[in-house]
Symmetry: C2
Subunit: 208 residues, 2 copies
């Protein structure tokens, strides 16, 4: 089992390697990687030793090989199967967004309860399914991630259904606190935090 | 003119005060506030001195008065007038999202170029306007923040129109790099970063 702090540092090594490869660097030592990130070289070597031997004495690590190795462990290169529940404005915008499939997130199914939406064809070839078929479709399509884009009052019921069907993690857009098992992977989105960040930028700009 | 690092610390003081007030604390000294945030008490006093006298010798600062004072400076309490350009799935989802008006972001206008969208009535009483009227409406409604929810190819043209009409800041959802003046306040959104954060959580969960 890999300790959580190690996994967090791997994500940092991965981002750093992304920039190094872009600038054409082919090898790097644990010392150099550590210096760039304020992490002790011995810690870098220890973190990377969990995954077998990436580096060679004297030359250091091949940046591309190391990046691929870390990507494998963090699940960055794998394809994640995603389903969306709630085929309204937000659900449809997400289903059609090219940025998701580009990063390895494939929308495999989209569900709704309204007869106006069920059966509707999307640009990407999917058809809106009836929520009644959720468990069967989620297992058949081996869904990993569930996205909730229903009204706030229906969010909890949808979360229960997802967890009951073996989904591994949830992204919740509905403005409702979900009651789910303590360590269950969850990300909540509130776009007003981005508006808040812009307000600070505008305020700072004015006070330069 | 308030230095940028001071403004960034004010946001941190504001969040800390939010929690203190919730737990019923009525006064706090600069020493105590500094200790909670790992900031020197003298720095706290210096930051707060920009805004006149908030604290009294011996008793410290009244938490509510201090929070209101900071909110005023950071533009947290003010109402921000927002317009959305692109009345498609994403634009409509944002226009109807109650979380924005609750945080002081009022959607004052929504624009599109398509005859199918122009004239459409929204749940919140707004009517989709023709982009041709952008400059006139943006000035009349004193718009501060512009939101871009158009296809990637049209994003730059919309950004130019917004900046030319005196908008103070932009939130861009379109997957396109905008070419705008260097310090112009801008926030870019890419939902796939949240999916990435969930993937790390799922991977970490499995490696506990
Ligand atoms: N977090 C954010 O930043 C953010 C931004 C915008 C909208 N939202 C929220 O996202 C949600 C969706 O917004 P929208 O604009 O797409 O709303 P919408 O009304 O257009 O779509 C909601 C859809 O959910 C369906 N639905 C209702 N109950 C359901 C259930 N039990 N199971 C499956 N489908 C169900 C409806 O039939 C409808 O198609 C809302 O809760 C909204 O507040 C969040
Ligand atoms: N950043 C993210 O996380 C994220 C997520 C979902 C969608 N998106 C992006 O948001 C944008 C909108 O997505 P959508 O699903 O709502 O698309 P959509 O096709 O439903 O809506 C786009 C709207 O923009 C209008 N439009 C086109 N050119 C215009 C112009 N020059 N001025 C004004 N309006 C114009 C169209 O008429 C249409 O109504 C797309 O670029 C999409 O890739 C981003």
């Amino acid at each position: 089992k890999i300790p959580k702090p190690t996994i967090k540092r791997l994500a940092v090594y991965y981002r750093c390697l992304e920039n190094l490869i872009k600038s054409g660097k082919e090898t790097i030592s644990s010392q150099e990687l550590g210096n760039r990130l304020n992490i002790k070289a011995s810690q870098v070597r220890k973190d990377l030793s969990y995954f077998g031997e990436f580096g060679k004495r004297g030359i250091g690590y091949q940046t591309r090989r190391l990046q691929d190795g870390i990507a494998e462990i963090l699940g960055i290169k794998r394809i994640w199967n995603v389903c969306i529940v709630g085929a309204g404005n937000l659900g449809m915008a997400l289903a059609n967004y090219p940025g998701l499939s580009k990063s390895g997130y494939q929308i495999k199914a989209i569900f709704d309860v309204s007869s106006e939406k069920i059966g509707k064809k999307l640009q990407n070839g999917l058809v809106v399914e009836d929520l009644k078929n959720f468990e069967r479709v989620a297992r058949k399509e081996k869904i990993h991630i569930g996205v909730i884009t229903v009204p706030a009052n229906n969010a909890q019921q949808v979360a229960d259904l997802m967890i009951g069907s073996g989904i591994e993690g949830i992204i919740n857009f509905a403005p409702a606190k979900l009651n789910i098992p303590e360590n269950f992977p969850l990300e909540e989105i509130d776009i007003s935090l981005t508006f808040r960040a812009l307000s600070f930028q505008i305020t700072m700009q004015k006070s330069r």
